[in-house]
Symmetry: C2
Subunit: 153 residues, 2 copies
DNA sequence: CTGCCTGCAAACTCTTTGCACGAAT
DNA sequence: ATTCGTGCAAAGAGTTTGCAGGCAG
């Protein structure tokens, strides 16, 4: 899905929900979709302000749930205090994250079996799965060997 | 492993690390091991104070990492703001959680394949896995049908 | 025009920390 | 006698919310 198509999807989602299409929301959208790596709410605020400097922190926090509900952004909580976000490119719904402790980097890995696992395990408990997440924390071999890593900032 | 054995393990862990065996730490240990369900730091404070009312919130927060490092407690972060804890009964190291959104209950499911997955995926990235977590969020069928659920408070 | 949306700043939640006193070794 | 552990209260980080004014529909 192209950025233009995602942008259209966002406008349509807002309209259908009776939400208004404001400059701030569009600036936040554009800021998010200009990124290829994970970003935090605070970073998104910076990016959005570069497009429209009237965007406030509150509006960023109020817009993020809209964009995750409309399946435009994926929220990634690695349990580090702050949440990360990433534009959803294609149909990559079922993904696991590998979090490098040394390089502070998050890798997204397709993991279609998660959905099967969630259904299997839930049905035994009389539950219907809504979502699943699989995360691996790991150390960087190169960083531990050489003291630095190309991925690291 | 019995509670008495776990208690001994805790004392030994403290001594080996040069940490002191205080009444407060023992009260927090006993409070935690008197529980069969997940609890929060705040709940643990209540439980511990019932044993020794001199226990403070700060000491609970300072003791929790000691107990997780010594593999006596498992920390479970389901991304809900507060963290949950559970005494580790046997050798159930690799577990997934199924979180019921309606009943606010956390089920622990043995998932030994997680370790294999973590290794496989990490090695492709030049990483060495440290830990992995797998969580499924689900709705309660009975709650959605009848409006109540036996597991719910 | 109506009422949702906004920015601002204060409030909130969970957790961490600085300090001076107290207790374990 | 040392030195670590403690309670208290304040600080901290990330996020949410109440309010008065502003802009989309």
């Amino acid at each position: 899905m192209s950025i233009a198509a995602s942008r259209e999807k966002f406008r349509r989602f807002l309209s259908q929900k009776g939400l208004r299409v404001t400059n701030q929301r569009l600036a936040i959208f554009d800021a998010a979709f200009g990124r290829k790596e994970h970003f935090t709410a605070e970073q998104l605020l910076d990016y959005a302000r570069a497009i429209d400097d009237s965007v406030s922190r509150a509006t960023v926090y109020r817009t993020l749930p809209i964009m995750t509900e409309s399946a435009l952004l994926r929220e990634v909580d690695i349990g580090s205090g702050e949440k990360f976000y990433l534009p959803i490119a294609g149909n990559n719904t079922q993904v696991a994250q590998v979090v490098c402790i040394d390089c502070d980097k998050i890798f997204e890995i397709s993991a279609p079996f998660m959905e099967w696992y969630g259904s299997t395990v839930s049905s035994k408990l009389g539950l219907t799965p809504v979502s699943q997440r699989l995360q691996v924390s790991a150390h960087c071999d190169e960083y531990r060997r050489t003291g630095s890593c190309p991925r690291r900032g």
